[in-house]
């Protein structure tokens, strides 16, 4: 496998890899009998590979609030902004529900944790 990736000369190995891929996932499916379709490799188009926690296909494209409004500084001090991304139980809401993009979710998460430490947000329970 390593040798094949190193040699960039022939495109033949690449094409054989591609043709191998649909074969490989199907084999375990055949072996183990009726597995659910999720195990099959890359799904064609559709939701773009986003497993939305068991939902069917389309979810309207959620946009990252921070990217849209161009909010750059996510500070632990603005509790009102942070509280929007915290559930009733005090847990941080996952980004697949809020639609926040990854870098902003990371910063948001750090800010929420800092706010929790300084008693601006609760660790558990309703955010007053």
């Amino acid at each position: 496998m390593a040798d094949e990736t190193r040699t960039t000369t022939a495109e033949a190995p690449a094409s054989t890899e591609r043709s191998d891929r649909p074969e490989r996932p199907e084999r375990p499916a055949e072996r183990s009998g009726d597995r659910s379709g999720d195990r099959r490799g890359p799904r064609p188009g559709g939701p773009g590979g986003r497993g939305d926690g068991g939902r069917k296909y389309f979810r309207r494209k959620k946009v990252c609030k921070f990217c849209v409004e161009k909010i750059e500084a996510i500070n632990y001090k603005d509790v009102r902004l942070l509280a929007q991304f915290v559930a009733e139980s005090g847990k941080i809401v996952p980004r697949r529900l809020t639609g926040v993009c990854t870098p902003h979710q990371r910063r948001l998460s750090t800010a929420i944790k800092q706010a929790r430490n300084i008693a601006l947000l609760p660790f558990a329970g309703r955010a007053s």
Partner: protein, 131 residues
């Protein structure tokens, strides 16, 4: 020595104003003796705490923005830990974040200027002349 820190601490709510002033001035003098500078002191007032801290449900929040070295912060935190009225504190280093924000602002400003007019450094007259 160019590190900027934000030090937020909570003081028990039943503290007297003048004691609070004394505490803050002690901290400020500590900062200056260790060779730093106090940029800002903000008293955010009494707030309800999100959870009970040392049997208190409210607290006075104070935010101190200082500039200095890590050792200075070490010393400040040590003092805060020992001080009885202070029930919680949090130090955040902010210079990297400020640098990043400045960079973004500059990029945005340069983007705003570039498309509408030719990027001429002289004023509007220069642009009119060239146009």
């Amino acid at each position: 020595m160019n590190r900027t820190y934000e030090l937020m601490f909570i003081v028990r709510p039943d503290m007297v104003e003048e004691d609070l002033d004394k505490l803050i001035s002690t901290l400020e003098s500590q900062v200056t003796t260790s060779g730093g500078t106090v940029k800002n002191v903000e008293r955010m007032g009494k707030r309800r705490l999100a959870y009970v801290v040392r049997r208190f449900a409210d607290g006075m929040y104070i935010l101190l923005t200082v500039e200095g070295s890590g050792d200075m912060i070490h010393e400040l935190e040590r003092r805060l830990r020992v001080t009885e009225p202070v029930i919680k504190f949090l130090t955040v280093r902010t210079d990297e974040e400020d640098k990043r924000l400045d960079k973004i602002k500059k990029i945005r400003e340069s983007r705003k200027k570039a498309p509408p007019a030719a990027p001429v450094e002289t004023g509007g007259e220069g642009a009119a002349v060239t146009a």
